[in-house]
């Protein structure tokens, strides 16, 4: 699995049937520290993520098909979690609550 950030939305009224009803989000893979790492891509959301969220993504077809319960679906990139906190070497490198005024 990889860490990514949701940067936008993709609306596609004409698409293959297996994607109908699925939310497509534009995501940018990141390093744990938060810098861009690899090409942006489009992911199927399964957890209600939104723009600006740091998310957990998988980029592997078999897992994607199992999650969606669609053995024949041409799917590969899915969002499977919204990240709250990331630590590297005991140091916090990302916290969802930082900068959020309560």
């Amino acid at each position: 699995m990889l860490i990514a950030e949701v940067v936008g939305n993709v609306t596609s009224p004409i698409q293959v049937d297996s994607l109908n009803g699925r939310t497509l989000l534009l995501i940018q893979p990141l390093t744990p520290e938060g810098s861009p790492s690899g090409n942006a891509r489009i992911a199927i959301d399964t957890v209600g993520a939104g723009e600006g969220d740091r998310v957990l993504m998988i980029d592997e077809g078999n897992s994607g098909r199992q999650i969606l319960g669609a053995p024949d679906a041409p799917v590969k990139t899915l969002i499977v979690g919204v990240i709250d906190h990331v630590e590297v070497g005991g140091e916090s490198v990302y916290d969802h609550c930082e900068g959020v005024s309560t």
């Binding site: 534009l26 489009i42 799917v75 590969k76």
Partner: protein, 100 residues
């Protein structure tokens, strides 16, 4: 899946069995700001896309799975026409009418 823009069409009458009747289109991949990203590529189209359309396409084994015949030598397939793609609330690409 990746964002792309259809920039042309391609005709190849001699093809690998199983690819009969599958349209081939030239696609320019786009990055998260809607700009060209990398070299263009040839993709099968399983939706009614055409030159000027912003699309999303899939690569790898899943590209063949998306084709009518699933055991074909295909590594890129257009799976949807994108009406609108946004980045931080700004529309970066997308238009069924072409361009975008």
């Amino acid at each position: 899946m990746h964002l792309g823009r259809v920039i042309g069409r391609l005709v190849a009458t001699h093809r690998y069995p199983g690819l009969e009747g599958v349209p081939l289109q030239l696609v320019q991949p786009l990055d998260a700001s809607g700009q060209d990203a990398g070299a263009s590529l040839v993709a099968c189209a399983v939706v009614p896309s055409g030159p000027g359309d912003t699309v999303h396409f899939i690569d790898g084994r899943e590209a063949a799975i998306a084709c009518p015949e699933t055991f074909v030598p295909v590594d890129a397939t257009i799976m949807g026409v994108v009406e609108e793609a946004t980045n931080a609330g700004q529309v970066i690409s997308g238009s069924i009418a072409g361009g975008g």
